[in-house]
């Protein structure tokens, strides 16, 4: 595998179409491992990965840890509440101290946009961005691509609607960069207060009305309303949001008959997505979860595997 020449995975923006295809191919061949009785291969034996989560996470962190364990890497988990950040240590110092212990990779989730880029400049280890502020969540976008490819066969000409708080969503940004790169058409939708200025410059269409936005689409991606990130009031009440912007049955029926429903989780059922939609046959939300393990195995392998002298 000489095609992947990156030390870090910080952003979808840094990846070429070939890089993405390679990740998806490798993920596809590794996915089978997750279904085995004995889920262990020695590929990354002797490699150390630090999962450094400044923000709470269930899915992403478990997914990374599982991917690391299946590939036999030694993984160490640190969360903000149990680390020296609580004692006032700067991110720069924490990162350099961890790096001094010679890990091969640092997987970081952080509430500040650009934090992974910041530490990547300071450490020798590779850095994977597991979500930074409202900027990007590249591994989520890659597992979304993997799931779409699995269900739809490809990306060219595919029409995708992303609905919800686009302004504060790192998943939206990474998905937009990834889908546009692979040749899909993207429409974003949500209340005008949640559509950031200049989003059209990323090559997407804006359609505030979710019913219009999903009409004739192949893929519907719902986003979480990030109540914890809501510093300013962007909509009057949850009830009002749900009434006018939730993904509900009547809306989904306007999409293509074989359209799929995706959501990065965790869901606020009854707010941005109705339970009957989330649990319907069209929903691939749980496929996304298992595909996440496969995609992260592929990324780990491409970044630090296969380089054994």
């Amino acid at each position: 595998m000489s095609g992947f020449r990156h030390k870090d995975l910080l952003s979808i923006k840094q990846l070429s179409v070939d890089d993405i295809n390679l990740i998806l191919e490798v993920a596809s061949s590794l996915k089978e491992l997750t279904q085995r009785d004995i889920k262990k291969v020695p590929t990354l034996r002797g490699k150390t990965v630090i999962n450094f989560f400044y923000e709470p996470s269930t899915r992403t962190r478990t997914s990374f840890e599982l991917a690391e364990k299946i590939l036999s890497a030694d993984s160490i988990n640190i969360s903000a509440s149990q680390s020296s950040i609580m004692k006032g240590e700067t991110l720069s110092d924490t990162a350099r101290n961890l790096d001094a212990m010679n890990p091969d990779l640092i997987v970081i989730r952080h509430s500040s946009s650009g934090a992974p880029h910041f530490i990547a400049k300071k450490v020798r280890a590779g850095v994977i961005n597991a979500g930074d502020g409202i900027n990007e969540h590249p591994t989520q976008a890659l597992l979304d691509l993997f799931t779409i490819k699995e269900k739809k066969g490809g990306f060219k000409g595919l029409e995708v609607a992303i609905i919800g708080d686009i302004a504060h969503s790192r998943v939206a940004r990474s998905d937009i960069f990834a889908l546009k790169k692979m040749g899909a058409e993207v429409t974003v939708s949500g209340p005008p207060t949640m559509i950031p200025k200049g989003i059209e410059s990323l090559g997407v269409k804006v359609c505030y009305d979710p019913a219009e936005a999903v009409r004739g689409k192949d893929v519907i991606i719902g986003l979480r309303i990030q109540l914890e990130r809501q510093k300013k009031v962007l909509f009057p009440t949850l009830r009002e949001y749900s009434t006018f912007f939730s993904i509900r049955k009547e809306i989904v029926e306007l999409a293509k008959p074989d359209a799929i429903i995706m959501h990065p989780g965790p869901m606020n059922r009854g707010v941005e997505i109705m339970s009957d939609v989330a649990d319907s046959k069209r929903s691939v939300i749980l496929d996304q979860v298992i595909n996440g393990v496969a995609v992260r195995m592929a990324i780990l392998y491409l970044l630090i595997g296969g380089k054994n002298e």
């Binding site: 720069s92 650009g114 880029h117 930074d132 200025k197 200049g198 990323l202």
Partner: protein, 428 residues
């Protein structure tokens, strides 16, 4: 006696530039002569060869943060004024957002006393408009003026209460204090870390809309109209602000304005890569804004170029982008960046120097001397074409927070002379 020979003397008041030799005796300019006319009998302690150089009167920066008292780890009056003279400035006006803030005459006196002991150039304190810069009640303008303050500003914040701002303008006019307004609606800018627009959207950073500045510019213009009292708009960064000020000046409202070199030299793309040195308030705007700022400078809508020199240490800057403090230093980069405007044909050399000297001195009402026989010898000698890559070791500020590090600049100060004494001699 000092002889400066072979250079081009810039007169920013009359808009002229002429080859002249200058003789300095003691604190004053003894003579200004056409080249080759130096009387043979004169004996000079020093002869400065200023061939191909610009000789101009001392520059004035009406907007700097010297950080003393309270934040001496970032900068102090000694280091800040050393950076000033290295940048060609013979006088600086320092903003009141120190700790404690300069909101009473004892802090003003402290600053002036410290300046007397250790400053390399003249220091003119700007006092706060409101006590604690909290926007609640006016400081004692009269007492502050008596102690040596030359203007008032709550720089870093707007005085949100429009009635209080109105009273400040009226009262400051009576005392002859300039009112310098930082224009920002904090509700619109809250949470923002860069200009709101496509670059912020691409980088996943929260934006500050141009309107956050323009709303307050419009308000202060209207208050100036109401009170007939002058107001000076600090660090203009947007196209809309330039348009508002242009219209106000056409109507005869007594408004003046400054911009900083970074607003005509950089746009919001400088933030790409999450460079915290490019994080500044107001934020770097779009290319369109940059063009309008240049147009405003050319037309005279923007009177002054001031640096908003804002030193920050690695404690404030070597952190996550959204946690980093705003601000960049500017005392040593202002001149080369302004000379770019001359090279681009936007300003003539005398116009550029005027915006860096005579104009701010007039707005603040502080003493300033042109290059004239008998005048106080405050003189800067500049090599306008000297080209170099800016490195940390060139910077005299305690803080090195500038996005121009590693960038090529043209124009360097060779000598700064204050009251006939060579205060700074360039090491290039």
């Amino acid at each position: 006696m000092i002889l400066i020979k072979g250079g081009t003397v810039v007169d920013p008041v009359r808009g002229k530039e002429e080859k002249r030799d200058i003789i300095i005796e003691g604190e004053r300019i003894k003579d200004i002569l056409p080249q080759g006319k130096i009387p043979k009998e004169n004996v000079f302690q020093k002869i400065i060869n200023a061939e191909n150089m610009i000789i101009c009167p001392g520059l004035v920066d009406m907007h700097v943060h010297l950080r003393e008292p309270g934040h001496e780890y970032k900068e102090d009056i000694e280091s800040g004024t050393l950076a000033a003279v290295a940048g060609g400035f013979t006088a600086v006006a320092c903003m009141p957002n120190t700790d404690p803030p300069n909101d009473n005459s004892s802090v003003t006196s402290f600053i002036l006393r410290q300046a007397e002991i250790k400053a390399h150039c003249r220091v003119y304190p700007i006092a706060a408009i409101t006590v604690g810069r909290k926007g609640e009640r006016l400081t004692e303008f009269g007492d502050l003026k008596k102690a040596g303050a030359v203007g008032v500003s709550d720089d870093g914040r707007s005085v949100l209460n429009s009635d209080l701002m109105r009273r400040a303008l009226e009262y400051a006019k009576y005392h002859g204090l300039a009112v310098i307004s930082h224009c920002e609606d904090p509700y619109l800018s809250e949470g923002g870390v860069m200009h709101e627009g496509e670059v912020a959207t691409m980088l996943g950073l929260m934006g500050i809309p141009s309107e956050s500045e323009e709303i307050m510019v419009a308000r202060d213009i209207l208050l100036s109209k109401l009170t007939k009292a002058p107001v000076h708009i600090a660090h203009v960064s947007t196209k809309g602000s330039v348009e508002l000020i242009r219209r106000a000046k056409e109507e005869g409202i007594p408004v003046t304005a400054e911009t900083a070199p970074h607003y005509f030299s950089l746009d919001h793309r400088a933030v790409i890569g999450y460079d915290t040195n490019a994080k500044v308030n107001p934020p770097l705007r779009t290319e369109e804004d940059v063009e309008e700022i240049k147009k405003g400078l050319k037309e005279g809508v923007i009177d002054v170029i001031a640096t908003d020199h804002a030193p920050q240490s690695p404690l404030e800057k070597d952190v996550e982008f959204d946690k980093a403090e705003f601000g960049m230093i500017g005392l040593q980069t202002a001149l080369p960046l302004t000379l770019n405007l001359v090279r681009e044909g936007i300003l003539s050399l005398p116009e550029a120097i005027k915006k860096l000297s005579y104009a701010p001195a007039s707005i603040l009402g502080i003493p300033w001397s042109n290059i004239e026989i008998g005048a106080r010898a405050d003189i800067v000698i500049i090599d306008p074409d000297y080209s170099y890559v800016l490195e940390e070791r060139h910077i005299f500020s305690k803080s090195k927070n500038t996005p121009f590090l590693g960038k090529r600049l043209s124009g360097i100060v060779k000598f700064t002379i204050i009251e006939g004494k060579i205060i700074y001699e360039g090491f290039f």
